[in-house]
Amino acid sequence: MPGPRTAEPDGKKRGGLRGAGRPSFVWSLPAVIFFAFFSLVPLAVAVYLSFTDYEGLAIQPPVWNGLTNWKAVLTDPSVGQAIFVTVVLIVLAVVTQVPLSLLIGVWAAGPQRGRAVVVALYFIPLLMSSAAITVLFSSLVDPNFGVPATLRQIFDLPVDNVFSNLLGNQWSAIGVVAFIYLWGASPLHTLIYQGGARAIPEVLYQAAAIDGAGRFRQFFNITLPQLKNTFVTSTILMVVGTFTSFDIILLLTSGGPNQGTTNLPYLMYNKGLSALNYGYGSAIAVIVIVLAMAVSLVMVRVTGYDKMQGTQEGV
């Protein structure tokens, strides 16, 4: 990479403040300090704690116990189970949230005034706390007082039907958790897609229309390719967000039935904070961090997002 000095063919100094064009490192200090203090330091502490025996007592500092926690974590069947649940939740999040957010986002990008009202309503979940949403859904899926009970009355269903025990078996419980994430998180991704779709230059559609492309052709040949970077951004947010999802599981299922909805972050809470084994919990936390970083790195590489290519070259 050529330096700024050689970039100027005549080697003359430019006027104005020295270094004004290119901020010095000092400018980034606030961000760096913030990041170091709230991300890197806690991360380092978690790594340290994962090699200790610590019960969270201020008067009894952590005691180094080498690889004890790590050996236990790596042979713990509940860790494997939790990774499985985590992956299932991520897959469900991507499979349900991407198409929904994409379609609604592109639709909402249109200029009609009515859409703005509908979209404003659709974004309401973004304003609500996920804890409140979960408590609400917890009442809704209650088999005796919630929606299942009403459905049973309306359609005269038998006492035991597909809706009567939603939190009682693993797959329907995972389904409910995924649905709440879909309901709560898809507005955010819709917003991202809406922004992305609005940035697509109108001339592309005009040119396509002249060439005789219909709505579907325009969507698949112009909108989708133009939204590639939006897609990558939104999906990475989605995947990493689901990786660390915890609140809904804590409030709705407590990881049950039979650990059926215990994902890695909930397992970390359960074994670390709740069972007061901070060393063990920290080891799980480190696994979460490593896996989440690996997944997002792979996604960035595979999609070519790191090459910083624009989608509008030549427009």
């Binding site: 209650d142 088999p143 005796n144 039979n258 359960n270 069972a275």
Partner: protein, 447 residues
Amino acid sequence: MKNNSIKRVLGVGVSIAVAATLAACSSGGGTTSNSLAGWKPDNSRATNQIHVLVLGDAAASAEKAAAARFNKTSKVKVVIDTGSTAGTEYNNTVRSQLGTKTGPDIFMSWGASGINPLVKAGGLLPLDDFIKADPKLKSSFLPSVFNGEVISGKSYGIPMRGVAPEFLYYNKSVLDTAGLTPPKTWDDLLSDVSTLKAQNVIPIALAGADQWPGQIWLQYLYTREIGNAQVAKGLAGDSSVWTSAGSKKALADLTTLIKAGGFGSNFDSVKYGSDGSAALLGTGKAAFELMGSWEYATISQDKSNIGWTAFPSLNGGAGAAGEINGNLSNYYNVAANTRYPNTVRDFLKQLYGTPFLQDQIALGNTPPTTDAATLIDADTKLDPQTKTHLDFVVQLVKDAPSFQLSWDQTIPAAQQNASHAASAAFFDNQNVDQFISAQQSTTAASN
């Protein structure tokens, strides 16, 4: 100029860090000359105040009122710090603050297993010297409750808040409609279940989604089949208790009830609370619920429909009649590094004072004191139904030959989740061997 201001910011940061380190060091030391056993005063603590960390739920109002009364006459003031409303978070706060100079002087606990690690680390003040100075700090309370926080012969906690035994609640009109009376024996209960099922009522409400409610059924069947003395041995780590014939009999009894459809078919989706299992009982969609005495306050429907009775007796079981399970009480504990132990002692006297106990009764709690029955009868503000309920609780505890603290409170705190999960799994699969080995592993650490 810019560089200077950055340096200044950094300088402030560094000096804060240095100050914090110094403070941390200075709090480690302390005077050794003192009159109280186990007292490690920290003279860098705030002057003329003691801090009480209270669990931040509605029941804390009685504690706040006690502090206000106390502060009227005391030079050293009691400061109430309101902690989390949830037990887990509250405990984590206590653990991370205890022993520091800003930590609480007084905080609340749930029984011996919770404070054991704190005692081992030397963080708690034994209260025996307080009791010597004022014997009422011990003699005012029911011995079975007070002994809940006696560890290796030393007393660490003074009971406060309510005694909460567990027993069987029922919906009167549901039983009336079905032509039933409250069950006296286990066989009565089983036959009630089949009658109620025929009436399309869920016989027994169970909040399976919360895992712990199912454990109460296991507790009581073990109490009836093998007796509380054996249960206590098992919880203390004697693994042979769980493999004994009585243990298998208890599990077989529960299996019979589950397989008979006693809990309905969707208890795993039901949560505990005023809109969950308690509402099933309150609205008459279910006939029974086995729950702690807090159930009465939890039910939000018409309470005149709610009745209660002791857990049924069981023919051929080795347990003595009337043995009970439940939560003994909560306790106030004292940090070893308190600066004003005399103030702490005097404030603890509030816990057996009539105004505090009256406040507890008004909250619906049964005070853990020997004079609870008298106070309840003397109370003119209570409605008759609530009074009957409180009287029942007092009588049940008084008549009980033994009172076993809930399993999840008896075993080490680290095993609590695993213990809940094991109980919940038994309700799902009735796998005797799996339950026994889980029970052995959650209690093994007690050794």
